[in-house]
Symmetry: C2
Subunit: 226 residues, 2 copies
């Protein structure tokens, strides 16, 4: 019997690759997608399609982060476009959603505990990471320690492991690995500001990092741009 694992699936490129890695590692993954009031809601449709492609269960959990405000991804603040590369990787941008990965990981821990899963996959990446503090290894390690103290499983000695297989990879390396593992990146959406039809803007930080990744990987970019 395959062991359970929880995979945080956003509908984007990184988390789709994570799901493929969890399958490669022999797990039976339950995917969690979070409906947090994001304006790029088409990513939830992408998450459904990606989970289906890997024959994995998907649970969509609703949490209304808009109640707190404070991010271009959940409020009516303009998404920055055409920023240069040094700005993309050095500043914390307005697209940062306060405590998003902290909240998402906590929800994943709740699901892991109910399933009896010890492994929890998240596609964070500290190289091409858009300057978000909650994508760094030191945060993930610290969170893992807290999660093990929070839970019945941790208290009873069954430690949770937060798996971050992409953390030190470049976007190009992620794309090459995912391509080998059969990820259909045409199903994934990375854009922070897609059209109503789900077409990528091509200009936000996320689109720029993604486009450059495909170029550097030498893999055809299946993204549908507006």
């Amino acid at each position: 019997m395959q062991m359970p694992a929880v995979v945080l699936l956003s509908g984007g490129l990184d988390s789709a690759t994570c799901l493929a890695i969890a399958k490669r590692d022999g797990f039976s993954p339950t995917c969690i997608a979070v409906d947090y009031g994001q304006r790029h809601r088409c990513e939830l449709e992408s998450a459904k399609n990606i989970a289906a492609a890997f024959n994995a269960e998907l649970r969509i959990v609703s949490v209304d982060l808009r109640a707190f405000g404070g991010s271009a991804l959940t409020q009516d603040i303009d998404v920055p476009k055409h920023r240069d590369e040094s700005a993309i990787t050095s500043e914390i941008p307005v697209t940062y959603v306060p405590a998003r990965n902290l909240v998402f990981l906590s929800l994943a821990v709740a699901q892991a505990e109910v399933l009896g899963a010890q492994d929890l996959y998240i596609g964070v990446n500290q190289l091409d990471y858009s300057g978000y503090p909650d994508c760094r290894r030191e945060f993930i390690e610290s969170f893992g320690a807290a999660a093990n103290l929070a839970t019945k499983a941790g208290v009873e000695g069954t430690a949770l492991r937060v798996q971050t297989p992409l953390i030190d990879l470049t976007k190009a390396e992620i794309i090459r690995l995912g391509t080998e593992l059969g990820v259909d990146y045409g199903l994934t959406v990375s854009c922070y500001d897609p059209s109503d039809e789900g077409l990528a803007c091509g200009a936000c930080d996320s689109c720029q990092l993604r486009r450059r990744g495909f170029e550097q990987a030498g893999v055809p970019d299946p993204t549908r741009y507006a």
Copy 2:
């Protein structure tokens, strides 16, 4: 100008006392109540009344923990009644909601970051704590470290402080302190299995701990029992 703080308010006795302490400490509190699909939903009404009594803002955040299953508080599992005291304080009961405080604290951190609040109050208590692992000091301290690594504020050097003023108090001490600070415990609901009219069952773990607390504090118990 008063400093902002975030207070996790459940509608119960402990968190109402925490709110009173945050006010005493000179903060302007924003309260967060979480609608997580709990069957004792009357506690959200209690949270509204308690926040109003302290003239504090309340934001109710919805997150559907029922999607994960696994607890008598969110599923159709019987709430244990008339357990003896040693069982109440030594075992992790079925009323434990997986990763609940981890999720709630993460939501509070998101709110704190948006408000620019450095202080976050939670009414956890490791004495009369019903055996929940996420009420222990070691968890809270570990979580605080992770939260500071997760957030823009933490990265920029403005550390969050997770305040747990009740952590070493007995239920009786909490009740005495709150009474001094003007908490109207008649507004609070602790029962895990109240009637539709919000009357307490008097027999679940939470009712037993509460009733004993009033007795030991020598304070009249305003609880409306079924």
